[in-house]
Amino acid sequence: MIPISWYLFLSAALFSVGLFGVLVRKNAIAILLSVELMLNAVNINLVSFWRYGNTADMAGQVFSIIVFAVAAAEVAVGLSLVYSVYRRRNTVIADELDMMKW
């Protein structure tokens, strides 16, 4: 039997890797890729708590489906913003997007 801690530690590690990616990546699309890693870590947590808790209560699974919808919405809007910025400024490097700095 796998204790719940295995899932939780894996999810924490995945979350940290994703967080690191969000902080260090220059390319805006790569930042969004890292956000996906973090969302997946969250989903693993939700589903494992559902499985190790009361399986008759579907809240964990319903919540993770909502996370899917949120992830899809985030990707759609995020990538469109990246593309929009690319068309105006011809770059997707987050550090070079300095319109809001002054």
């Binding site: 489906i65 899917f68 919808a69 899809a72 919405a73 990707v75 759609a76 469109s80 593309y83």
Partner: protein, 118 residues
């Protein structure tokens, strides 16, 4: 007794390995004499101009966006469809409300001319 997911997992593994067998067989018996002409990009005999990985049309991207949203929508519709038989009739209305909200989005993009091939 019969473990469903064990079977699916094994099927995925075997299904990936199986197509590799003819490739390995071919690599063993087929001749290999590469030269620059053979390995060049095939463009009907013309010289390749510029980069090969060309930028693609933005219109494909819009269709991908619409697809992404509708794909997630169908995910919600599957549990709804399965439990229609055991639920009271007003549940149907909930699903139809769900569908029509998204159809409204599709018709908005249609009206605004964003589906047209620009």
């Amino acid at each position: 007794m019969h473990n469903t997911w064990l079977y699916v997992g094994l099927f995925l593994i075997v299904g990936i390995i199986f197509p590799v067998i003819p490739l390995v067989l071919s690599a063993l018996v087929a001749p290999r004499k590469p030269n620059p002409i053979k390995q060049s990009t095939y463009e009907c005999g013309l010289e390749t101009v510029g980069e090969s990985q060309v930028q693609f049309k933005a219109q494909y991207y819009v269709f991908a966006l619409v697809f992404l949203i509708f794909d997630v929508e169908t995910v919600f519709l599957f549990p709804w469809a399965v439990s229609l038989n055991i639920q009271p009739y007003f549940v149907v209305v909930e699903g139809i409300l769900f569908i029509s909200i998204l159809i409204a989005g599709l018709s908005y993009t249609w009206r605004k001319g964003m589906l047209e091939w620009a």
